[in-house]
Each structure stands twice: as C-alpha cells, then as structure tokens.
Amino acid sequence: MKNKIFVIIGFTLFIFCFIIFYKGLQKPNIYEPLLEGEINLPNFTSYDFFSNEKIFSDELIKEGSYYIINVWASWCAPCRSEHNFLMSLKSKNFQLIGVNYKDNKNNAQVFLQELGNPYSKILSDKNGTLSIELGAYGVPETLIINKNKKIIKKIIGPINDQNFSELLKIIK
C-alpha cells in the first residue's frame, strides 16, 4: 500500500516535470523586461538636446496629458524605419518626447534634418543613465505615459504596424 503511494507520487512528479520542461522549451530564454501593470514615472533631470538647458521631469511632464517617450539614436538602424511611424504620429492630444541615446550630437542632427523631427522635445542621454532611470534598456524603445503620470506601456524594439495601431488606440 505504502509502496503504491510512492509509485503514484513518483509518476505524477515525473509527468509534471516533463510538462514543465516541455513548455519551458517553447519559451524564449532571452529576458525582455516587460511591463506588468503600470508604474509611476520616476523623477529625473536631464538636458535639452539642442540648448543643453537643464530640464526637470516635473516641468516637462505634467498630469492631464498623454506622453510618448521614444528612445532613439542615429547609429541605430531600426530607428530609421521607425521614424516614419513617429512622423505620422504628429497630433494634438499627446506629446512626443525623444531621448537621444548615447549619440554623437552632429550625427543626430543630420539624422533629424534628413528624416524630420517629430519630437516636441528631445532630451540628450549621453551616458545612458536617463534610459535606465526610465526603465528602458536599448534603442529603439518607446514608453507611453498616461494622464496620471504612470508608464502604461513599453514597446521594446521598433514600432511596427501592429503595435502602432495598438498605440493609436491607447492615445486616441
């Protein structure tokens, strides 16, 4: 009797482990920091890309309006293709803020002249710290901030048709 219980427990465990490993194989082993729920926008200070003026997050981002923060750099190829989407985003019920990530200022300016400047404000992030404070981990990455100053969505990688329409839904 006791032996039988052991056998049953053993085989249940066996099948359980198999299922877990089987499912585990289907999951990607690279970690992407996905957003769960919403988090408060942290306070930060940064510098304006053009004028180099100091900017405080409280002054830049205020309650009652949607913001989209887009991390980009001139050396990042996917950012180029993404730029078209950003250009078509120009609208009134939100503000698009760019974060220029570890970039050379001249190259970045050329990039903007070539493809246009969709941003209402660009912050410069020379050493990558601002992106970390915002919880981004590479370029391109896009954060959406709602009217209560909470980050509600992160898009890692370039914006494509699918997440573009999602994005439009959120901020419409």
Binding site: P42, K102, S131
Partner: protein
C-alpha cells in the same frame, strides 16, 4: 602607431557608442554591481559584464547612492524598472517560498530518514 589607430577605429566601428567606465568603485558599489544582472550579456552580472549597458547601470547606481538611496532602495528601484529578473538574490515572496523552502524541507526529510535508520527515532 598606425596599427593603434586601426585598432581604435575598429573599436569604434564595432561599438557605435561611447562608454564611460566607472572610476574606482567602492566596496558597497561592487557588492551592488555583483547582485545586478546585466540585460545585455544575460549570463553575467553588471560587475563582470563589459557591455555599455552595464557601464551605464554602474553610473546610475553610483548616482543613486550619492543622492542618498540605500542598497535596498537601489534594488527596489531596479526591480521596478526591469522586473525581479535583474536581481541575483531573489527576495522571499509568494513566488519564491518554494525556492527557499524546498532545500530545507529536503534536509529535514533526509534527517528524519537517517535518524530512523540510526535507530534514534523508533516507529
């Protein structure tokens, strides 16, 4: 000298970015670096990693320490931004009770079996 310039060009070509390595970290800083996992070279800690991202992370840690955050605050901050995954030392919560508890459970069960075998515990 020519070779050197080739080398430097190569480095710049390979990594399009500019890195700023943290100068002379303190013991506390190193301890924190060792406990943070790098998101770019995902098998390594920020302390071991050479990636640009890890260097930026180090700068942020140093900046936060200066602004008066404690070690715990920094972990909380990183967890908020990147999820629990960035910490090598998982904290005890609903998801990790078993992680911390199971080894002890095994230890106790093993102990009980051995005590019985040794005749200390009688049936």
């Amino acid at each position: 000298m020519k070779k050197l310039s080739i080398f430097l060009m190569l480095i710049i070509c390979l990594n399009n970015t500019y890195s700023f390595a943290v100068d002379k970290p303190t013991e506390l800083e190193n301890k924190i670096f060792k406990n943070l996992r790098c998101l770019i070279c995902q098998g390594q800690s920020v302390y071991d990693s050479q990636s640009d991202f890890a260097e930026s992370m180090k700068i942020v840690v140093r900046k936060n320490l200066k602004s008066g955050m404690s070690e715990k605050d920094i972990y909380q901050f990183m967890r908020n931004n990147y999820g629990e995954w960035v910490l090598y030392d998982p904290e005890i919560n609903k998801g990790t009770y078993l992680l911390w508890g199971l080894p002890f459970l095994f230890f106790l069960i093993g102990g009980a079996i051995i005590l019985r075998k040794l005749g200390v515990l009688k049936r």
